[in-house]
Amino acid sequence: MIARDRERPAAPLPAGDSSGVPAVEVHDLTVAYRTQPVLWDVDLDLPVGRLIAIVGPNGAGKSTLLKAILGLVRPLTGHVRIFGEPYEKRRSWVGYVPQRESVDWDFPTSALDVVTMGLYGQIGWLRRPSRHHREAALACLDKVGLADLAKRQISQLSGGQQQRVFLARALAQDARLYLMDEPFAGVDATTERAILGLLQELRSTGRTVVAVHHDLQTVADYFDHVALLNLRLVAAGPVGSTLSAENVQRAYGGRSTVLTHAAEALLGQAGGATEAARRLGGNGG
């Protein structure tokens, strides 16, 4: 049911106005939750029209990086540019797929309703989704092979189907840059194939996809570029040259504890100094 003909491939993007400018530029980005540093001095340019994986161990700041790009968390220092402009100016160019676990799937709403939410930005204030919007949303559901389940309450969908509903919602945004938080997490083989096909289709029409990814085994197969993250940026570039054993070891082989503690001590000078001292005394975070 996934191999449904895709009659309406997304139109290729007009080239020109932003050529040469990276899809995402991250400059000197530092983010902290209270005294806990989550991202430290990240500088990163992500090229247009590529599938890009953000990879790193648990707590490396992968999701936070996505949220910082989206302006959902406020950085301590640094800034982000989307196609050369601040996020506020490029909002309509960006599609977002949050982690599936971040919402309550028992919410009283249907699959089609969720996909229609991707169009709320276009629909605007005080107006209801029209038949035209509903049809557009249904076409997106069809692209992920779920048109038959449009009316179904979202808790009645399998995990993989829920993930595809989220992807369809992002497709409805018709964006140039897609930011996805663990799109492959906990999905069945059918969904994994469907998502991969979708990513490749997005790339073939000039879209850029940045996805947090947890499976090192498949990074090279699925993605063109990779950014290895562990609090700091360890390495970034084409998968072939970047995903070396040495870089992976540097990203996964234990966090630089000195840096973590130093950052905590610095951030926690006012109220959190004792907390940092406690952590330094213990086995670290």
Binding site: G71, L72, E88, Y96, D104, F107, P108, M117, P129, Q153
Partner: protein, 426 residues
């Protein structure tokens, strides 16, 4: 029934309050902020007392403004605690609730000890006293209800997205913070309006109970909001009418009891989500599994030595799964009605249709065993029990997929034949 002027006021007021509480409570419930309404209500009590101490009057407007002030202060305190400490939201609400309520009770005691305070009657705010509603109160309520309904209707899709996925809402550029504040403000308004009728202690029930009841009956947010408003309104009307016709029956608690009854009914009887339906589903599934097991047992016995035409004695069949005669009969009767099993005296056998039916259960069982054995590399003596459960839930499509993955095997791990898929749809 002839209603007095006061009773009419109470009826209109309680109905309005119920509708408003139900509609807004739906959003609070879905945002998991049920406790927020409770905290706000308790936080309003010291405001009522302070307003009386400062102004020296019991003018409703002054008291309600006081309630509004400390209610808002309480909600700010919750936000502040969550933001600036490591305390989680539920604990923050608990802290604010008890601190403000404690303060309110202390102030109430102080007021009662004042020479002028004996008859102040502020304690009616604890449990509410709907009979004190006057025309101006109704007017205030009507204005607030109109404003809140307008906000819900105009901002419906934004509020829906805010409740479902605030992160995505923010990425679209929706002013999530301001929408959250709007929802909290509306909640404070309902609480303050409801203080006089239902009181500090029970007001949260007018928010949560109708919403929770409505959730049971529908899977659409818009229907849920309407239904919750209707349940709230009906409970309000019922409570006020009951207290008008029966002497000394308090309005607020009766309203809460009425909506609780609606909730109880919904939890038990609502189609799909209700307890009765769940029980029925489970029983139906169990009965189906027992029938399929009987088909399978008959198939296995028939398969041994190709004795398909032989009638098998019931005691033999009962022995396989330790069933009583009546348990066996409960499974055999519907199978006979479907024409899959026929009996002769005290013995049973499969018909041709029944054999085809049974072969599909056996097919599921054996393919699953093989899948566990070869794909997951479990030992042959470990796979049977798992297949006993899976054979009843595997769809024909999934079984076909397994068959394809395994390269269309013919023999199961125990050396028995795997039946082919039959074209008969059941």
């Amino acid at each position: 029934m002839e209603l007095s002027f006061t009773a009419k006021n109470v009826l209109i007021g309680s109905t309005l309050l119920g509708a408003l509480g139900g509609a807004l409570g739906s959003f609070a419930l879905l945002r998991r902020q049920s406790l927020l309404g409770d905290a706000l209500a308790h936080a309003a009590l010291p405001g009522v007392c302070l307003a009386y101490l400062i102004t020296g009057t019991k003018a409703p407007l002054a008291l309600l403004l006081g309630a509004l002030a400390t209610g808002l202060l309480g909600s700010l305190a919750i936000l502040g605690i969550v933001r600036w400490s490591r305390i989680k939201e539920d604990s923050a609400m608990g802290i604010v609730l008890s601190v403000f309520f404690g303060l309110g009770i202390v102030l109430l005691t102080v007021i009662q000890k004042l020479p002028t305070g004996n008859q102040s009657g502020l304690d009616k705010f604890l449990f509410g006293q709907a009979a004190t509603l006057v025309r101006e109160d109704l007017l205030t309520m009507a204005v607030l209800a109109t404003g809140a309904s307008l906000a819900i209707v105009l901002l419906f899709k934004e509020l829906k997205l805010l409740c479902f996925d605030p992160g995505f809402a923010a990425s679209l550029g929706l002013p999530v913070r301001r929408l959250e504040i709007l929802l909290t403000l509306l909640l404070v308004v309902v609480v303050v309006v409801g203080l006089q009728t239902v009181g500090v202690v029970l007001i949260v029930a007018t928010l949560i109970t109708p919403a929770a009841a409505a959730r049971q009956w529908t899977d659409r947010l818009s229907s849920m909001v309407w239904l919750a408003a209707a349940i709230g309104a009906l409970s309000g009307a019922f409570g006020s009418l009951a207290s008008a016709s029966i002497d000394r029956l308090p309005t607020g608690p009766v309203i809460v009891l009425a909506s609780s009854l609606a909730l109880l009914l919904s939890l038990v009887a609502a189609p799909g989500r209700g307890l009765i339906w769940q029980l029925l589903r489970e029983r139906r599934a169990a009965a189906r599994i027992r029938r399929e097991n009987l088909l399978k047992d008959l198939y296995r016995l028939g398969e041994e030595g190709e004795r398909w035409d032989e009638f098998l004695p019931r005691p033999l069949l009962m022995g396989i799964r330790g069933q009583s005669a009546s348990q066996l009969a409960r499974s055999a009767r519907p199978l006979a009605r479907s024409g899959w099993v026929e009996s002769a005296g005290d013995a049973l056998r499969l018909t041709d249709d029944g054999r085809r039916e049974a072969s599909q259960v056996v097919r599921n069982h054996r393919l699953w065993e093989l899948y566990l054995r070869h794909r997951l590399e479990l030992a042959a003596d470990h796979v049977h029990r798992d297949a006993e459960a899976m054979e009843h839930v595997l769809s024909p499509d999934l079984t076909d997929e397994i068959e394809r993955l395994l390269g269309f095997p013919r023999i199961d791990p125990h050396g028995r034949q795997i039946p082919a898929r039959s074209g008969v749809a059941v």
